[in-house]
Symmetry: C2
Subunit: 114 residues, 2 copies
């Protein structure tokens, strides 16, 4: 299938206040991630071997990359982009009531298919 209506995509709820919808080709996966219940502290940083580029479809958020002295915190608004290198620790902080991220991964997140 080549088109995916938002209202018809299956919904995963990986944690409280987070909904994830996804589509993928052979090599890339796109996810729509909706956050609610903000503002609230960021989830603990996580990492994965996949490269990630994300579009802030609804901000504002703080994008938090790295750890310790090397950690950076960047406020991003609707329309901005962030990138996550392979295996880099990262998380986001919900600054408003809701937020939406469009995450793109290479390779596809096999862990999201289970």
């Amino acid at each position: 299938m080549a088109t995916y209506k938002f209202s018809e995509l299956p919904v995963a709820r990986p944690s409280k206040g987070v909904e994830r919808r996804q589509a993928y080709t052979d090599h890339i996966m796109m996810t729509i991630v909706d956050f609610s219940g903000g503002p609230r502290p960021p989830d603990p940083p996580h990492k994965h071997p996949h490269e990630q580029i994300s579009y802030v479809a609804k901000g504002p958020i703080n994008f938090i990359l790295g750890e310790g002295d090397a950690q950076t915190v960047t406020r991003l608004e609707t329309g901005d982009i962030f990138a996550v290198p392979s295996d880099a620790l990262h998380t986001v902080e919900l600054l408003g009531k809701t937020a939406r991220l469009i995450d793109c991964f290479y390779p596809i997140r096999e862990d999201f298919l289970k």
Copy 2:
């Protein structure tokens, strides 16, 4: 650099009424494509070897895939997704005054770096 403010991204204008901004990692490129001056007929279909997944950040649009008897036209709204297989002919039709697509490509569009 890991973050990209929309207002600071370089702008390409590949055709009248189309603005493109982009960011990329080693294997994936994300582009923000803004269409204006609609509604108007679709540009001629094009193709590329890259896989593509796109998020409709502002619709509505018609997504047109394939050619001849196998051509499909699908109306998509804000929040919907479409995917383009490698080397498949495709185009979009601007149904409103403006539209925004978030295109994700694998591998990166070297032709966009020139």
